[in-house]
Symmetry: C2
Subunit: 121 residues, 2 copies
Amino acid sequence: MRLKKKTEIPHECSKVFMAIRDSMELLSGKWKIQIIGVLLYKGTLRFMDLLREVDGIGAKMLSKELQELELNELVKRTVCNTKPITVEYEITEYGKTMKAMISEITHWGSEHRKRIFKKSR
Amino acid sequence: MRLKKKTEIPHECSKVFMAIRDSMELLSGKWKIQIIGVLLYKGTLRFMDLLREVDGIGAKMLSKELQELELNELVKRTVCNTKPITVEYEITEYGKTMKAMISEITHWGSEHRKRIFKKSR
DNA sequence: CAGGATCCGTGACGATACTG
DNA sequence: CAGTATCGTCACGGATCCTG
């Protein structure tokens, strides 16, 4: 999915659909939900670990997505003063409020996968 | 958000994260969830009605998104043979299985909006 | 190790005009 | 009314190189 910070034109949309839009604005992008997911299930991780855990992501994207998530106070960034710098990322309390939502998404996704699998044989 | 049908490289990702990916592949795109949402809450609608209900969407995008949703059997398309052609769209039974997920997304979105609102004053 | 800078292709998305 | 065709833009996102 791809979002633009486009010209809001809220001519007359109900609060329900504005809410959907708010969520999607954050969740959109190939990675954010996956990052949150990983952080939610695996706890505190370093940059390199995330790079490995999140599967296909590249360093540039990971960095960018993490910054956005940090701005939205969904993840916390901690710099450790080790020899070669290390940075740890973890979910904030606020980030945890997404758990129910992520869980529903995961659940539907796995059901959907089953369905697709059945059809393709 | 923006997805590519990129080269699956499932080197070692858990089923959980594959599930998230499956969902996001469908939900990604600025509009799909909103369309499902509208259809879910308002029932059967014609093309023009959707064009109005979904807020900022254009005809081209709406058309394209609907086709994809139809392919995934999430919505049903019905052509009525009226004088000027009319087409009606409605959620399929399968599409209704997304309800819980959409509802969680909506819920979190509205909470998030409250939070943003508080901070901006 | 973390992550910024740069270069670059592809495609998501929009506006407009057109057809049955 | 319900789309399709065409065209253009710019963000997404990958690869590579570079630094503290």
